[in-house]
Symmetry: C2
Subunit: 248 residues, 2 copies
DNA sequence: CGGGCCGTTGAAAATGATCAAGTAGCGTGG
DNA sequence: CCACGCTACTTGATCATTTTCAACGGCCCG
């Protein structure tokens, strides 16, 4: 269980659902000399202004990216009337991993605030990985971790109702932020209601209603983009699904 | 675009949604001598009888698997009343890739029919990948391909209604089967209505109703587990979402 | 000051879930 | 070989949840 932490909870379901946050990074396990070589690959820093795209769906592979500062949303923005946010990425997260299989980006990546990324030339990275087994191992882990993440989302979209989904979203965010050294109970959303809704498969109005419900039940106080988690255990209980057996 | 095929269609949405099927395999690009070394890793063949599990969620990492014969479903089977099928795997598909990041399986894998898999010791595979860059490359591609797959499912669950989802499911299955050399219009489902429903986020009764709808509209004839796709283009049109603008 | 975006809330409508009943097919054991 | 029981599937009626449509307030920025 090293490198992986779980939300502790008395509810087994919450344990499964809770997004495992790995302090995964390409440089883990490298000597300082080798880490230097890796850093040389990531020399280029790119600034992306709020609202503009780092890459667009269909762009050909050139690099994968690591978020340094800021936050991104990735997804399909307005293809034929459909919209789907597929993920939010912040400091330490990777962008563009899906590109490896197809050779072009499968998503749009748009900055939610003024941000900065390191670009990593994927071909050079692969070459380096041949020299450094630890890099190869970390890359595979990174990819596998992304799969686990996506599976959690599929579970959430397939099994949970609106309140449960939002609870799951907030708890995941809270945990991610705490791993980054921020408060797990008080934080600021970088994304709109619409983005959240698209991510978890609901309309923005439904998100609002769930927020109102959480406020009325003392679970969380969300005003605008400011979030105060008031009863994290209550939110976990929601996700667990146990409440469905009790009539409220 | 080599190694990747798309369903051709006049509807741009269908193009995005259509699952890209890659003839990905660990041995692509290897000399016969190197392929031999890879094959040695896969020496062990395991038979799994219909209904029994190849591995269970939480089992510690020992191997990843390649399906040789048969079909599997992977997912969370009855955790705390929740159920979620996360994928169906058939000949050529890999099982257990999520294990790389966490060290234990994140799913149950159950055979849908009497099946046979090759087990691949992951640690030995990583060692081999250090020697053979092509293996490393193929492994990364395999993982990335899985991410693309999962993203398609998230899109499907987040944006499409019941009929559109089932249409997407059938078209994907049809394409997968045709890549394996089978008919893309006449095939047999290995999974129950309930499994399909769980996979695409619907109840089994809803699946039945969608099947009835497809039959009434001449799109597909599904009796029991036998499928006849009658109008693939019509199914693609459904997924495209264009029909929502026209009142029927 | 005005326009646009974002967020909130209400009421009506639509979609899918749930509950219920009945049918079909299959394998097993008498 | 048939009867039995089991599972999978189908269809109808009702119910619950979420979407849709609409109206309104706040805030920021030009």
């Amino acid at each position: 269980m090293n490198e992986v932490t779980f939300i502790q909870s008395q509810y087994p379901e919450a344990l499964w659902l809770s997004r495992s946050v790995s302090k995964l990074c390409l440089s883990i396990g490298l000597s300082s000399r080798d880490a230097e070589r890796l850093n040389n690959l990531m020399a280029e820093r790119i600034k992306v202004r709020r609202g503009s795209a780092l890459y667009r769906i269909g762009d050909p592979l050139c690099s994968i990216y690591a978020v340094r500062v800021g936050a991104f949303k990735t997804g399909i923005m307005s293809v034929n009337g459909h919209n789907q946010i597929l993920g939010f990425q912040m400091s330490g997260d990777m962008l563009g991993l899906e590109v490896i299989s197809t050779g072009y980006y499968g998503c749009d990546a748009v900055a939610l605030e003024d941000s900065e990324v390191s670009s990593i030339n994927y071909f050079q990275l692969e070459t380096l990985a041949q020299d450094l087994p630890a890099v190869q191992h970390n890359l595979s882990k990174l990819l596998s971790c992304e799969i686990v993440r996506d599976r959690h989302m599929m579970f959430l979209m397939g099994n949970l109702n609106s309140k449960e989904r939002l609870a799951g979203f907030l708890l995941n965010l809270s945990q991610q932020l705490s791993v980054l050294g921020n408060s797990s109970t008080n934080f600021v959303l970088k994304m709109s209601r619409e983005d959240i809704g698209s991510y978890i498969g609901l309309r923005l109005e439904t998100i609002c209603r769930c927020i109102a419900h959480f406020r009325n039940h003392g679970l969380a106080e969300i005003t605008g983009r400011d979030v105060k988690i008031l009863n994290a255990e209550g939110l976990r209980y929601l996700i667990s699904g146990l409440h469905r057996n009790v009539r409220d």
